[in-house]
């Protein structure tokens, strides 16, 4: 039987800019984020597919629940992982997640 593996094509144009940084970050429909014990990972589920997230991506996206803006998220991650200077990388990941349509 056929089964085409669909490459993730991030065709969505990037419309996110710095001016939106203050908006709370939220997972976009129809994506659903959840922890999967069998894969020991967070996954993003969507029609006909799934993205298994690495730990970093999971830690960021699980905080995108509509209650935090980007700066708050970064501050929280720095505290949780006792790290500093991760802002640039987190911002790059969030921009990429927007491009993929994962975030509203």
């Amino acid at each position: 039987m056929n089964d085409s593996t669909r490459a993730e094509s991030a065709t969505e144009a990037s419309t996110q800019s710095g001016s939106e940084a203050a908006l709370p970050l939220t997972i976009a429909k129809p994506f659903r984020l959840q922890w999967e014990a069998a894969q020991n990972a967070h996954v993003l589920l969507y029609p006909e597919g799934m993205v298994k997230l690495n730990q970093s991506a999971g830690e960021i996206l699980k905080r995108c629940d509509g209650t935090r803006d980007l700066d708050t998220l970064i501050a929280e991650l720095e505290q949780a992982f006792n790290a500093t200077g991760i802002g640039t990388e987190v911002r790059a990941f969030i921009a990429d997640a927007h491009r993929r349509g994962w975030l509203e």
């Binding site: 039987m1 669909r6 993730e8 006909e48 730990q55 830690e59």
Partner: protein, 422 residues
Amino acid sequence: MTDLSQPSVQPVAQPAAQPVAQPAAGPGAQPGQSAASVPPPLWLLAELTYRCPLHCAFCYNPLDYTDHHRELSTAQWLDVLRDARALGAVQLGFSGGEPLVRDDLEVLVEEANRLGFYTNLITSGVGLTEQRLGALKAAGLDHIQLSFQDSTQELNDFLSSTRTFELKQRVAAALKRHGFPMVMNCVLHRYNLPHVDKIIEMALALGAEYLELANTQYYGWARENQAQLMPTREQLEEAEAVVARYRRTHGERCKIFFVVPDYFETRPKRCMNGWGAVFLGVAPDGAALPCHAARGLPGLALPNVKDTPLREIWYESDAFNRFRGLSWLKEPCRSCEEKEHDLGGCRCQAYLLTGDAANADPVCDKSPFHEQVVKVVQRAASAAGAEAIAAREQPILFRHDANSRRLAAAAREPGGDHGAQP
């Protein structure tokens, strides 16, 4: 049900950015061929029934589906859902046949949702009333895949041997009103490939977030109708150009998948993402399927959920281990440097075209049987000019109970040929 539901998981698609400190390496990194290295199933396809109001000529259900009509009970399906979820399955498709003919669908959806599945109803739309849409939404159904046969009423209704086109249009509008994301599915073949632009326009007009254009895969009923359905290379190239154009202009509104017509390729598809790697199907009677079409493979004893625990089926059964990994490969695959890419291709295609399911998929031009595939394509090209004559000589065989019984009976006779009528 008419469409090929295409489970496609991207089990390891990792976002590029890795900003946060990483703790120790991930678990489950056991090497080698041990049982511990067999990954869990991620995709459960619950084929609730073979009953279907449509009679599509390209249905992938087995020809002898009437021999397997005793369906699992509600309680048995609930056990399947719980056991599969415990193994790790997370994507769940309710399919068939037409799953809406089961009046316990809402009960199953509700439990699936409670268990944490991402649920998909794969439907022709027949029976999807306002009331059931409301009940399915309340039960937590995540999305709906609605099949069309063509952008025109005439062809849609002819190919499904029913009058359903207007109904499908109404259902599409209704399910959007209820807030469901919609995957529109259309199986492509010689008759509707020239309409692919209209099919895309229809998907856009109906608000589909995803459009799956699935070139016919030749198993089950489609295989019986291969002579009629096989397109020409020119048709495919034109359709692909149209798809590429729409992806550029409308790719943000609607994600368009184009399932490759592999008879026209020289390398096989990575079938099912690997046998026993991701996909676990359960047929209406409880037979566990490593692929949708596995029922057609001779000598493969399919375990049944009624008498074998799902965990044992997935990890220990002969059926799920037969073509798992790479150790079963024969030449030319065994020594091929591309084997890890395509895993030898499709077992059902290997059986249908070479007589041995363990052979290389003959779509591959390294297969000594590749000529079989070339011949099918050439026949389609030469038949294109004489289409009307061919159609008269060999009418389309619609999928319905009478034809299924006739084909099943014919297959039981030694050396018996098909005696089905359209």
